[in-house]
Symmetry: C3
Subunit: 200 residues, 3 copies
Amino acid sequence: MNLLYALDLIGTFVFAISGLRLAAKKEMDLFGASVIACVTAVGGGTVRDLLIGATPVAWITNVHYGVAIILAVPVTIIFRKYIVELKRTIFIFDSIGIALFTISGMEKAFSYGLSPSMAISMGVVSAVIGGVIRDILCNEIPLIFRKEIYATACLIGALFFFVLSKMGLNTDLNYILTTSLIFSIRVIAIKYNLSIPKIR
Amino acid sequence: MNLLYALDLIGTFVFAISGLRLAAKKEMDLFGASVIACVTAVGGGTVRDLLIGATPVAWITNVHYGVAIILAVPVTIIFRKYIVELKRTIFIFDSIGIALFTISGMEKAFSYGLSPSMAISMGVVSAVIGGVIRDILCNEIPLIFRKEIYATACLIGALFFFVLSKMGLNTDLNYILTTSLIFSIRVIAIKYNLSIPKIR
Amino acid sequence: MNLLYALDLIGTFVFAISGLRLAAKKEMDLFGASVIACVTAVGGGTVRDLLIGATPVAWITNVHYGVAIILAVPVTIIFRKYIVELKRTIFIFDSIGIALFTISGMEKAFSYGLSPSMAISMGVVSAVIGGVIRDILCNEIPLIFRKEIYATACLIGALFFFVLSKMGLNTDLNYILTTSLIFSIRVIAIKYNLSIPKIR
């Protein structure tokens, strides 16, 4: 639990950075960029909580999420040049982030008594909706609808996590294996430029 | 009830197809297209349920909606050419779909004790919001804000349904009459190119 | 309370007008424009209510908000020319509107037991999200992410309101002082073309 929670906060922090970077590209001011950072970081979990009726949503009653986001602002500005060069690092953190959000989203859905198929859906929703809202607010077609394997990695990871937990695997070990799987799928997809076939 | 439920699922199925077709036009991949299909099909009912506090929302606890959407994917791909030629058929199903969603949305709102004016609003919300979210995700100004009579047909149908049910009409008959009315308004609006005056 | 409620309705009315005007610029029809008016006027409060779990949301159980919005339609059409010339008047009402929504949003959040930092966030959300949704539906990057000090005025006002109420100031006086502060910040920002530095 503590491991998952820590990683959840890291995911929040890293997603906030990805929001700030897109906002900078769109020449937004500091306030607008902070809003984008917030919705990117907590958007997925918020939609999940609304859909399953877990209100007030998590970040309203737990201040740590807000702190993680606020911390991301100076870090992004100070390490700006470093972050640009570390595009690879961002990619790594982002991929870890979606993996963690997939898992924590599923766990929360199960704790509310949802069926496995819906818990898996909620895992994917938690991982990808933040980025979708970020892109809509920036007036772009959400990247997950166009780019390389992204949400699909979450979906595969969520199925994997469910099967392993049904098989009675130790939860912490399952966290690590699932995170590794989602991370590996993303790396391989990028390296070999894999993508899902377009419809039609 | 059983009639309404069956028609509700048909509406879900048909709306999913309309989402898949727009996604194909936007050259999305299969996963992205499936997401668009989902939000088109369940978006309206989801927003209605969130607003009236009926959480978890309907499709989370009832797997049939998900099945209807998943079925739409192979059907759209296999009958692709057929569907393009059957644009008229899609239009027919879509028009039936909004009629059914208007009615089922109102019935749900009434069952939560809403006032008539709000129940009518929730009927229109149920029918049209899915398409609005679909268009936003595809980065277009929602069609209902530009095109021929669409949401207005739902609004007129909702009023008609309310008046008839106040007059004590048999519910099943009312379903059929209201569906026919909304359907007819749409057909006539298309045939004679009717539209609502623009503002200003 | 009565003062706040009356001003809340005025804010709803004025925001509806701002939605109608943008819809007219986008050449929407009367129905689409009315929908834009609704979401502009009640969007912020709706998102706030969903996040804190205050469902059904306020305007579903209180018909006065709907009446305020419906009234805005003929007023905008009849006084069209007058409103264009009175751009300054709209600006004034809009600025009063965000001030009032900031305060009423905070008060509602406090009444649901939220922490001060979250109540302040909910105040800003109530004030600005309606305009954000309006801009997304019209396929524009939300103005608050680009323009002069707007949401920041709400944030400063919300902090001010909180500090003064902690100091035991009379509530009605606090309403007036906070509204004046937010209003003044906006006027000064426009007059001297102040803006927040862009990120990067």
